[in-house]
Amino acid sequence: MMVKETRGGKWTSDLVLDLYSNLLSEVWDVVSALIGEAILELLFTLSVRKIGEKYPFLNTLNVSEAGISMDRMKQEYRVLSPLEIHRGFQSLLNHLLTLFSALAEGVISREVFPKVFPKVREAERLISQK
């Protein structure tokens, strides 16, 4: 898929990156309140390392106890196909949700699902826009 420009002049890739940036921040806020920043940082780092093998752009995510920063990613990968970005983040989120379920069954997922699904749907809508 080619990179498309929207009416406002912003690249679709930028929009998808912004969308996932907001989503990851929300996930961070919800889950860090439940399990603490240190463990969450570990889970994010492990997930980025694993999924980054297939989607190398994810390796530019900066994870620390302070949260997640996508500044480098936004600079370096704005020309990447929005679909590729969407798929990468989808895999990352799936992996994180698998880890959350493994640790605490539904306790974390129950809090996170309502945040994730609307955003993922919005990303799909952005990508499919002609």
């Binding site: 309140a33 439940l34 399990i35 603490g36 240190a38 463990i39 940082e41 570990l42 889970l43 780092t45 492990l46 694993k50 698998t98 880890l99 493994a102 640790l103 605490a104 069954e105 306790v107 974390i108 129950r110 809090e111």
Partner: protein
Amino acid sequence: MRLIVKNLNILRSILNTINTSFEMKELVESAGNNLPSLFEFSAFGLFWKEESTLYLYQEESCPLSFTQEVAKNMLRVLNILGEGAEELDRVTLQIEKKKLRPSHMAMDPKATLKSYLTLPLAVEEEIMGCVSLNSDQPNAYDAQDLQFFSVIGYQMAATLKHYQRFSSIKTMAIYDTLTGLYNRRYLEERLMAETQKAFYGGASLSLVMVDIDHFKKVNDTFGHTTGDLVLKEIASLLKNSTRKKDTVARYGGEEFVLILPEAGLEVTVAIAERIRRQIEQTPFEVGQTQLNLTVSLGISSFPSHHAHSKEDLIQMADQALYDAKRGGRNRVCVYNPPQR
């Protein structure tokens, strides 16, 4: 509000007991004793990777099948976190059973794991193990339980990190860094304990002093790196040729000392002779060439040699070693008291 304050006070007290624990078992027990005030659980587990040990604090009536299910689940979680598949049969289980619920609410012998919370114990991205709350009741845990449990897990991880650091300091203090054998300092301590046990308890105790023959030549000809490799190989050979209860230490340079508790002269001579033969028959690979080495060994033994202190035993073994060297090396000599 009152409940939250009460829970926070309990949490504070749990964190305090974790902080002041000096041993893993104590840590698990003191946490376990306090956790029932905060959570409903059938088993609380702490798995420490370094020792491959799973400490479980569980309800008295907990059936074995439930214990195994908990253990398997904790290892499964670690596996999902990418920490390698630790096999259950290689894990040491340390189980502490406590009465956590009244008798009429004892666990069903067929109870299965219905809910759990498992958190990795991690410091600076290193996963040291995991900690887990487990219940035979469905939906036993909610978001607030997870919040409290994560604070406890975080404190436990920090405490484990202290244990790890302390244990590496302890390791440095008692082991010889090159050979991995005990060092001289530990040898003196051990010998003091063993001589007291033997002198007052009447058990026999022997000492073997081992010296590599012409070791200086190895260093001069092949260099110190090769010399170090030879020392390591001989150290491992000594370790493998002795019994579990024996202490093998590097005394200094190319000299080693073996403490053999409850070993009379006959047994000690047999062990020393076996070591001598084994080293004589072992070709040491040095680059392209093979090196044949021999050792000399001196033995002293209580009560045979009427030693009165650990210093006596060392001095007697040293004298016997001197006799072995003077007698042509590659031999075992037993202390021979001076003739009057």
